[in-house]
Structures are given as structure tokens and as C-alpha cells.
């Protein structure tokens, strides 16, 4: 909790991370100044791209005392405005799941290798990044806590599987290796409340540690202050739950 008599400073900049397959990718990195120790958080951007919302949110985590990094999952697709790059990815059916896992795990290792690290790293993502959060937390043991914000297509019918997205993340539930917080809107279509319930049932069946919150009066993307989907009460409560969850699982 920030107090008015506390020193605060941060460093925020773009850096290069050696991602999946040894590829150099860009990442936005924000960390509090000071000796620490600080927990780390990897932010997985949404399909609208590696955009201002994610830069801002990365800095927000630094303000709250986390070393935070958001890798550019679309780095290999070329460079332009985040929208133009994301539009290209949208038309090409997204980026491969395996590549996302590699890029996110590499980013976590950067955080854990910092001299100021407390050894704990969490991850959070929204929209497609929420789906990626569930995926990565199931395919890797690098993380101590995971937050899925309205990740669509965690549950996928057979006919939605592609070469890039070959397995529905729900099918990896047995391997989920981190406590999971899920934030969802009751009016969302992707994921629908029925799909969230299906995911919850799988988590329960496999004895996983999780907590899901379904917000009435909210749809998809209710944290996005620049979109009509923004819902102030639900977003404020959701952020409180994120800070509480990471506070419990990522403290020294």
C-alpha cells in the first residue's frame, strides 16, 4: 500500500528478450527503483496488440511494487502501429500457442534472474492473453500465480482447433501448475458463462487451486477504460482482487 511519505520511482523501457526458438523479441519492461526484493509479473497482451493499454498496465504493476514485463508476441510479424500489426495477426489466425509459451516463459526467466527478484513470478493476460495465461500456466512450472481475465476459447470445440492452436487449454487442466484467478463478465459471449462453468468444473475435478468471479452487468473487456465495455465498479473490484491474489501468492 502506497503512503504519501514513501519514496517511489520506476524505470520503464523497451528491451530485447531471447524468446521462443532463440528469437530476439521486444518487450516492455517496468520495474520499481530500489533494492527490492520485488516479485515479478509477466503481462500477456491481448489480440488487439502490444498496445498502449499494455504499456500503461505494465507501469501500473511497477507502481504497485512488481517488476513487470510485457513481451511483444507479434514481434516476428513485422513492425508498424500496434493496430496494423495486430490486424495482420488477426487475419492470419493468431500466433502459434507453442511460440507464445516460449516467449512468456523466457520473459519470466528474465524477471527471476534480476538481482532484485524475490524469486516469485506471476502472469496475467486479458482476452486472448487470458487464454494464453491458462495455457502457459499449464505448460510451464515457472509461475507462482496466474490471472485469466475473460480469456475466450479456453474451451474450444474440435472444429476451432488449428495448426497454431492445436489443443484447447482446458484439456491441459491436469497440468495447471499455478493457483488461478479468473475474472469474467456475465454478458460475455467469449467466454460465455457456460464455458466458464465448464472450465471451473474441470479445475474442481482435478483438484486445482482457483477462484473465479463472474461479474453481473459486465461483458468482454470491462477493464478497458477506452472502450464502451468499461464498467467502473466491476473493474475496480476486479483490480482489488488482482492485487489481493498476487499479494498472497507472490510475496516473499
Amino acid at each position: 500500500m502506497y503512503r504519501t511519505d514513501m519514496y517511489e520511482g520506476m524505470l520503464a523501457e523497451t528491451v530485447t528478450v531471447t524468446g521462443h526458438n532463440g528469437d530476439a523479441i521486444g518487450a516492455y519492461f517496468a520495474r520499481p527503483l530500489g533494492e527490492g526484493p520485488f516479485p515479478g509479473v509477466v503481462l500477456i497482451h491481448h489480440l488487439p496488440g502490444w498496445d498502449e493499454f499494455y504499456r500503461e498496465t505494465t507501469r501500473r504493476f511497477a507502481h504497485h511494487g512488481y517488476a513487470a514485463i510485457s513481451p511483444n508476441l507479434y514481434h516476428r510479424e513485422g513492425h508498424g502501429t500496434p493496430e496494423d500489426v495486430a490486424a495482420m495477426v488477426r487475419a492470419d489466425g493468431g500466433v502459434p500457442d507453442e511460440q507464445v509459451v516460449g516467449d512468456v516463459v523466457a520473459s519470466a526467466r528474465v524477471l527471476r534472474g534480476l538481482p532484485t527478484s524475490n524469486g516469485k513470478v506471476g502472469l496475467i493476460g486479458t482476452c486472448s492473453g487470458g487464454r494464453h495465461t491458462v495455457l502457459v500456466a499449464s505448460r510451464s512450472t515457472e509461475f507462482d500465480a496466474a490471472v485469466d481475465c475473460w480469456g475466450g476459447r479456453v474451451v474450444m470445440p474440435e472444429d476451432e482447433l488449428t495448426e497454431k492452436l492445436p489443443v484447447a487449454p482446458i484439456d491441459y487442466t491436469a497440468d495447471l501448475a499455478a493457483p488461478l484467478l479468473g475474472l469474467f463478465g456475465a454478458d460475455d459471449q467469449s467466454p460465455s458463462p457456460e464455458q466458464v462453468a465448464q472450465h471451473e468444473e474441470a479445475l474442481r475435478e482435478h483438484g486445482k487451486e482457483y477462484e473465479f468471479h463472474m461479474y453481473e452487468g459486465a461483458g468482454h473487456g470491462f477493464f478497458y477504460w477506452n472502450r464502451p465495455a468499461y464498467r467502473i465498479d466491476q473493474a475496480m473490484d476486479g483490480w482489488d482482487k488482482v492485487w489481493d491474489f498476487f499479494g498472497r501468492h507472490l510475496s516473499s
Binding site: 491481448h46 489480440l47 488487439p48 510479424e77 513485422g78 513492425h79 508498424g80 502501429t81 493496430e83 496494423d84 500489426v85 495486430a86 490486424a87 495482420m88 488477426r90 487475419a91 492470419d92 489466425g93 493468431g94 482476452c127 486472448s128 487464454r131 475466450g152 476459447r153 476451432e160 488449428t162 492452436l165 459471449q189 467469449s190 461483458g219 468482454h220 473487456g221 472502450r227 464502451p228 465495455a229
Partner: protein
């Protein structure tokens, strides 16, 4: 964007965007979250030159009903043009 619904049309034409006129060779048609339009999902058309990089894009985001109106208008104009000129 969570639907991942995308259809690609190989086309031949020109489009005018921030960089002036560019040759375009693809229309990427998606039904997914828009960047700007104030709805959760929209019919999006990106006219692009695939070889020229991400910023070679002329974009529109349409309400689904507007997209259907556009389809009808294109079909009607094409039918009248073909009837009048004999071109295919």
C-alpha cells in the same frame, strides 16, 4: 480477438490510405473485436498489400447489418455494370 474468424480474398486493385495510393492484393475479412467501432464484434475488412508490411492497410470496421448492406450494394453495382458494359 477471440473469434479468430477470418476469410482471405485474393484481389487485384488499388487502395488509398495514409501512404497515398497503394496496390492491394488481399482483402482480409474478419468477424472479431474492432479497434475503434464501439461494439464488441464487427465485420472488419483490411485491404492490404501483403508484401509491403503491416502499415500497407486500408481498414474499415462495420456493424454486421452495414456489412450486409455493403454486400448488396456491391452485388447490385456489379450486376448493373456487367449488364451495361458486357465486362466480366
Amino acid at each position: 480477438m477471440c473469434t479468430m474468424i477470418a476469410e482471405i480474398a485474393r484481389i487485384e486493385g488499388s487502395g488509398k490510405g495514409a501512404r497515398g495510393w497503394i496496390p492491394i492484393d488481399r482483402a482480409n475479412v474478419t468477424y472479431d473485436h474492432p479497434f475503434q467501432l464501439a461494439v464488441e464484434h464487427s465485420l472488419n475488412i483490411d485491404f492490404v498489400n501483403a508484401a509491403e508490411g503491416p502499415d500497407s492497410r486500408i481498414a474499415v470496421e462495420l456493424h454486421p447489418s452495414s456489412a450486409r448492406a455493403l454486400v448488396r450494394a456491391i452485388e447490385e453495382a456489379l450486376a448493373r455494370g456487367v449488364a451495361q458494359t458486357g465486362e466480366v
